[in-house]
């Protein structure tokens, strides 16, 4: 029996927020332990304090936040009382951390090898040759191909998954007892995510490392966690073994949270293909050509031979990983970029090649809701002005447009009197509702939602999805729903097109594509979906 003394014990931890914040404590009275060889997931929505806990353990909290109570014991040593020098010694030797964004977490101007070498140089007395050998060994252990080449590569020459492997290699090169992983797979594609989760699990099991894994995704929790702690507003709601929390949660908040996770089993939506066709594409394609003065041109086919059609009252989902061309297709359809091949029919009008002057009247008919509600509203305009800007541009008087805006605010369940407020006064979910209202103000025939719920917390996501579906039904809208999230697609789409490398590889009714995928890529995509064996709807029923 191995030593079962916990590697990490957090006792009554309280972290104060600066004065004037929306609450007094970022984290309040939180206690939990991580044992050797165990993966503990901290799960919660944004603002739950899960990342604050991770940064407190590493001693990397922003200066504005101060731990005001409790203890954090790393193998029995209270690191809240440790000096800055002692903390530096502990980092990467006893406790390591990997982060959410592998794209930005590595220094862009140093080679990957140098960056790992720094760890060894700082914490060991090994000579250059021994360090190099150790780095090559760890690069091999995290299953990077051609370790010698990777050693000399700069981060921008590697893919997202490879970069996260570099981060993991860096974190584990000195065999720490504790690994803190802060949403390490959130920014990755689903197939890459599956590989990284597998890698983390393998490595920690082999070395008996304790892992504190922070995530908002219950799919990931189901996949990797031994025990789960649910956080809300800085407080621990409930903690227990994964199986128990996911299937028999005792707290209402946990039940609500798990109940909000969309099921991967597609909803039966009873599609009747009887509406008129709103949008049809024929061999739509977009090729980018970059040409140098002396060099030969480089061509990238972002999308090719895309045939889609959407009828009134229908939702067509395009699912795919990053770089699959799904957003390119959406942008071509909205003519935000000009397609290079094929045709786009909006009703009976072919708009792919229409010159800007004649395109303008058709602009109104296609509206987009973008991914990031924090950046897609102009921060210096009131939300009312944002909403009425489009209709007024198409000839409506200000008073008419404002009247429409007030009705739409009610449609998206916001207070019509809030029209004179600015975007920063709303939460993320509210802002996305405003974006939907802004799009609807144009009375479009086709609404494009480009990852419109991907940046939202799961409970908010559920509300926005329900709202979108209700509006679609009521207004008989055609909706093009772009997403990387299979669960979301399963719940909202009537039809699904799976894209990979610019091509539609599988296209059909959602129930059919999800129920019996035919193409290998689709199968691989479903196989990689985290927590696919777990039916989250059971918990909410319980």
């Amino acid at each position: 029996m191995p030593d079962k003394k916990p590697v990490l014990e957090v006792r009554n931890l309280t972290v104060a927020l600066p004065k004037g914040a929306d609450r007094v404590h970022a984290v309040e009275n939180v206690s939990f332990t991580v044992n050797p060889g165990e993966i503990v997931c901290l799960v919660g929505e944004s603002g739950s304090g899960k990342s604050v806990i991770a940064f407190t353990v590493m001693g990397l909290l922003a200066k504005a936040l101060k731990p005001t109570g409790g203890e954090i014991l790393l193998e029995g040593e209270n690191i809240l009382a440790a000096s800055e020098d002692r903390l530096r010694q502990l980092r990467c030797t006893r406790m390591s951390m990997i982060f959410q964004e592998p794209m930005t977490a590595l220094n862009p101007v140093m080679t990957c090898g140098e960056q790992i070498d720094e760890v060894l140089e700082t914490h060991t007395k090994l000579d250059a040759a021994a360090r190099k050998a150790k780095i090559i060994a760890i690069l091999t252990r995290v299953k990077l191909p051609e370790p010698e080449r990777i050693y000399a590569s700069f981060p921008h020459q590697l893919s997202g998954g490879q970069r996260q492997r570099i981060m993991i290699a860096m974190a584990l090169v000195l065999d720490p007892v504790l690994l803190i992983a802060d949403e390490p797979t959130t920014a990755l594609d689903v197939t890459t995510q599956a590989e990284i989760l597998k890698l983390i699990a393998e490595l920690q099991e082999g070395q008996g490392t304790g892992v504190l894994f922070i995530t908002h995704d219950f799919g990931v929790v189901a996949e990797i966690a031994h025990r789960v702690a649910v956080l809300r507003w800085g407080e621990l709601v409930e903690m227990g073994p994964t199986e128990q929390i996911l299937s028999r949660p005792t707290q209402d908040y946990t039940k609500m949270l798990i109940g909000s996770v969309p099921s991967i089993v597609p909803a039966h939506r009873g599609v009747r293909r009887d509406g008129e066709t709103v949008l049809r594409t024929e061999k739509l394609g977009k090729t980018y050509v970059s040409k140098g003065f002396f060099q030969k041109g480089r061509t990238v086919r972002a999308a090719a031979d895309v045939d889609l059609d959407i009828r009134r009252g229908e939702t067509l989902g395009i699912v795919g990983e990053s770089g699959s061309g799904k957003s390119t297709v959406a942008r071509c359809i909205a003519r935000l970029i000009d397609p290079t091949e094929g045709k786009v029919y909006l009703g009976d009008t072919e708009i792919a090649t229409l010159p800007p002057g004649r395109l303008r009247p058709h602009r109104r008919k296609v509206q987009i809701v973008f991914q990031d509600p924090y950046r897609s509203l102009n921060p210096r305009m009131t939300v009312g002005d944002s909403i009425v800007e489009g209709p007024m541009n198409f000839g409506l008087s200000r008073s008419e447009a404002l009247a429409r805006a007030r009705t739409l605010m009610e449609t998206v369940r916001l207070d019509p009197n809030a029209l004179d407020r600015y975007p920063h006064q709303f939460s993320g979910g509210q802002r996305q509702r405003i974006c939907i209202a802004r799009a609807l103000a144009m009375e479009p025939e086709l609404l494009i939602a480009d990852e419109a719920v991907s940046a939202l917390d799961v409970s908010v996501q559920k509300q926005v999805l329900e709202l979108l579906d209700e509006i679609r039904q009521r207004l008989k809208l055609a909706v093009l729903f772009i997403t990387h999230d299979l669960r979301v697609a399963a719940q909202i789409c009537d039809f699904v097109a799976v894209m990979s490398q610019g091509k539609v590889v599988e296209y059909g009714a959602a129930e059919q594509v999800f129920g019996a995928p035919r193409h290998d890529y689709t199968k691989a995509l479903f196989a990689a979906a985290p927590g696919r064996h777990w039916d989250f709807s059971k918990a909410s029923a319980a």
Partner: protein
């Protein structure tokens, strides 16, 4: 990369052509007759006409231009009307003090301003930050000649540590050369220190918010390594850009500084040439400065690739 350098070097030609036309026209179209200046106060109009004929000033303007361009393409920049020497000789003589002043100024400015900027950014809001920023405002708002006279008054006259004025060639006596470089370089450097410290502080502040700085700290690296190895190198591109612009501005600043400290450099040569309507000298100096400016910009662009591997030409 070589492709890029070749293209940039070719691009110098049109730049110089435009500068040449401008310089030529600007000087010819301004009132005042250099022949009269050369001939002196007591010259007859015949003497002036003769000098004018000898210098080619009576030819149509386009012919003057053609002759001038032709000469320059042969490396013949003509003879100074005023100094009675070839312009090439003149510039060679005056090059050393200006070059020495510029290099010393740059070294002082970069090695003072960058550490100050990094420190100010790291201790944002502290007294160090406030002093550096306060000094920055002061450095901007004080004219160079005022700084020059204050420094002379304190260090040369009151304390007597350094000579007041003058220049000793580097080959003649290195220590005397250095002694006479200290005050002019500091004088000229102050405004660059102010500028560079500000830019360094701003770029470092931006970089310190990046995720890879957090990663570097999570690795247990010391503050010095985080700042100098991770932050500074990533902040280098804007800092280098400003250094490049600074070198160009240096040339203007050198005029005043050279006058205050009596250095026989290109700055003073330019002033003297302008005052005496010495066309060949003015033209050559302006053309030379524009070449220097274009080449320095090219060097700065190339140096970006040393600091940031993502930049490829």
């Amino acid at each position: 990369m070589l492709d890029f350098i070749a293209r940039r070097l070719i691009a110098i030609i049109p730049v110089l052509a435009v500068v040449a036309i401008f310089v030529f026209l600007m000087l010819r179209l301004t009132p005042g007759d250099p022949a009269a200046v050369i001939a002196g106060d007591n010259a007859t109009s015949d003497q002036i006409a003769m000098i004018r004929g000898k210098l080619g000033l009576d030819l149509p303007i386009w012919q003057q231009f053609a002759i001038w361009i032709g000469d320059m393409l042969h490396g013949n920049f003509g003879e100074s009307f005023f100094f009675k020497k070839t312009v090439v000789e003149l510039i060679q003589q005056r090059l050393e003090p200006t070059l020495a002043l510029s290099i010393c100024t740059l070294i002082i400015a970069v090695f003072t301003a960058v550490p100050l900027g990094v420190l100010a950014a790291y201790r944002q809001g502290s007294w160090i930050d406030r002093i550096v920023m306060g000094f920055s405002v002061l450095g901007f708002s004080m004219p160079t000649f005022v700084i020059g006279y204050i420094l002379i008054y304190i260090f040369a006259i009151n304390l007597g540590w350094l000579p007041v004025q003058g220049y000793v060639r580097i080959g003649v006596d290195f220590w005397q050369f250095l002694e006479r470089m200290v005050l002019p370089s500091i004088t000229l450097a102050i405004v660059y220190i102010a500028l560079l410290a500000r830019i360094t502080r701003a770029s470092i502040l931006e970089v310190l918010n990046e995720d890879y700085i957090r990663t570097a700290r999570a690795k247990g690296l010391s503050t010095r390594v985080v700042l100098m190895r991770h932050a500074l190198r990533n902040a280098a591109v804007p800092i280098l850009t400003v250094i490049g612009i600074g070198i160009a501005l240096l040339i203007g600043g050198a005029v005043v500084t050279e006058s205050v400290y009596g250095l026989p450099g290109l700055g003073r040569l330019t002033v003297e040439a302008v005052l005496s309507r010495d066309f060949p000298t003015i033209q050559a100096v302006i053309l030379m400065f524009s070449v220097v400016y274009v080449v320095i910009n090219l060097l700065i662009d190339i140096s970006y690739t040393l600091f940031d591997p993502r930049i490829r030409y």
